[in-house]
Symmetry: C2
Subunit: 347 residues, 2 copies
């Protein structure tokens, strides 16, 4: 009996030691591909992120009066309660139009090398200028945005505080910088994966570690790496096998629309995978609701392999561990309109 | 010189004493009409407001998946950053349809004797069941709401916690009760008017006190009284002089649609006036953007008097003092969908 207990303990100890060794090796490999999300927002080039700038950005992010109709704000499509996107295949915009592509999450977007599915904006400030003007989204103009902001003394004061010393702080560029500042705070550190990367062996289960191993070994990490496991470079969708037109609509030629270079046809930014379990549906078309299905499609389309059902389940289990601490956002109280505030259009 | 100072001081003291006496008389009169907003939400009949119930209600209030399209939540038309409404003449709803009436504020709505412009809902729980099903608003069905909630374990757990001991807590009635619980917390105490009602003479300026006096003397308080200065009873719009069709559209017969009684034609609930400076545009038609204009129209339509420009300005100044402390709301992190969550419709 005593012998049995001793043997069992020894086996357990040996197994634990072996597992710890496995963890160390896998972690070393993983750290050559990936990086944990830092606890604090990063510094931004060309934008000094102050508390005043973040607070102003939060107001602008949540203010539907930044859209022509008065219905849409940044928050509509980048919902801070829904993992930073809207959970729709493509967004509903002005006049009930549908956007051309799935809304990407605003969470951790500050770590992407460029913004939008085709990377046509260099940073979040440039990105923020897009939807507000897009006819199928907020359908506004920079002039009307500025007129709206200038009509409300609370906004004018907030711009003066956030951009001290500037003679005319209420500009479309500063509007974008403030939104970028707020969005830079929308990061999700301390996912179980990051805890494990930081040395906590028990933060992942064996199945999840197997999934991580497959994610690296099968080649997923070749495109999905860095802090965001994606978002850092461009790749043709359908590199090996082109998916059906429902998933890769032939009318949307991706980065070709930006560069007009034939080799950029159907090229898209590798999707960042942080919080991917929260941001269904998937792909730029938003055509796939199941994460397992998305993983299987990626295997055949990008890697030319039929992942086994077990591999798909393990990789999906690993991807679920990328869910970080969601940001806590207090809904801002928005400045009151005045008699000079432009009226919502279409009324 | 000493005599001059003494005289000036004496005059000032006498003036202060006289003003204090005036304040006391006006306050006594005002307290016979109005009541300050309490610091804490009131008890509700048929609904035990617990922290768990409020938290669940906040999730439901902010969750656009409660609408058929996935675009609209309660928050869309009752924006906690915009004084509890949407700042539009009438709301934009499913398929870009327009609602028939201006969205009333959710703030302090718990103090109204009934909900909607025509009082067709007895309380906030009954109210909450309306927009979610209205074809021009969220266009959903109770069955689909329940299926959506049941598909997400985090929601099921939150219902079990908020409604302990119930065998099937995820019901449409409990959905409504939870939203009512959250909305009951959306109160705005400590307006300058309430500070003055509570004894702080300096909380209102002389112009604002003159406005309050006119509000009572000219008869506004006959309909707009109680905690919310309105929201407690029904009156014909155009009692003395019917406003133009732009302000009182002939197709909307008000409470007649509820009671089918001829005497209820063009009868509406007296609008609650708390935070009225934040909730333009005005009237059930949302046709008037200027509070001064709205005050003047009320004078002629309801009281049969042409208020002088000074009276209009003073009454408006008084109404601005009804702006209370806006609620601080943390945007809830919403439960994650699962593979059994119903898809948004129209996709």
């Amino acid at each position: 009996m005593i012998r049995t207990i001793w043997t069992a303990t020894a086996v357990a100890l040996v197994a634990t030691a072996a597992a710890a060794q496995d963890d160390a090796a896998l972690r070393e490999e993983a750290l050559s591909w990936f990086e944990p999300i830092p606890l604090n927002p990063p510094d931004l080039p060309d934008n000094l992120v102050t508390r005043d700038r973040v607070d102003l950005g939060a107001m602008l992010f949540f203010d539907p009066r930044m859209s022509a109709s008065g219905l849409f704000s940044c928050q509509t499509c980048h919902n801070v309660g829904l993992g930073g996107d809207d959970g729709l295949p493509v967004s509903i915009g002005h006049g009930w139009q549908r956007g051309p592509r799935n809304a990407p999450t605003a969470f951790n977007a500050v770590f992407n090398s460029a913004q939008f599915w085709d990377g046509r904006a260099a940073d979040l400030a440039e990105q923020a200028m897009g939807p507000v003007q897009a006819g199928v989204e907020m359908n506004n103009t920079p002039d009307n945005v500025i007129a709206t902001l200038m009509s409300m003394p609370e906004y004018v004061e907030a711009f003066e505080t956030a951009f001290p010393g500037e003679e005319n702080p209420v500009t479309f560029e500063n509007f974008a910088r403030a939104i970028e500042s707020f969005e830079a705070t929308l990061i999700t550190p301390n996912s179980r994966f990051d805890q494990w990367l930081n040395g906590s062996d028990g933060a992942l289960t064996d199945v999840e570690k197997a999934g991580l191993n497959a994610f690296i070994e099968e080649g997923c990490a070749s495109c999905h790496n860095g802090i965001n496991l994606g978002g850092q470079d461009y790749y043709p969708f359908g590199l090996i096998e082109r998916p059906g037109a429902d998933i890769l609509p032939p009318g949307d030629r991706g980065r070709y629309e930006v560069t007009k270079t034939v080799s950029d046809e159907y090229v898209f930014r590798a999707s960042p995978l942080r919080n991917i379990g929260l941001t269904a549906p998937y792909f730029h078309s938003g055509a796939v609701w199941s994460l397992e299905e998305a993983v299987a499609i990626m295997g055949s389309a990008q890697l030319g392999i039929d992942l086994t059902e077990t591999q798909v389940q393990e990789i999906t289990a690993f991807l679920e561990t990328l869910e970080g601490e969601q940001p806590e956002v207090v809904h801002p109280v928005l400045p009151r309109r005045t008699e000079t505030t432009p009226l919502p259009s279409d009324f």
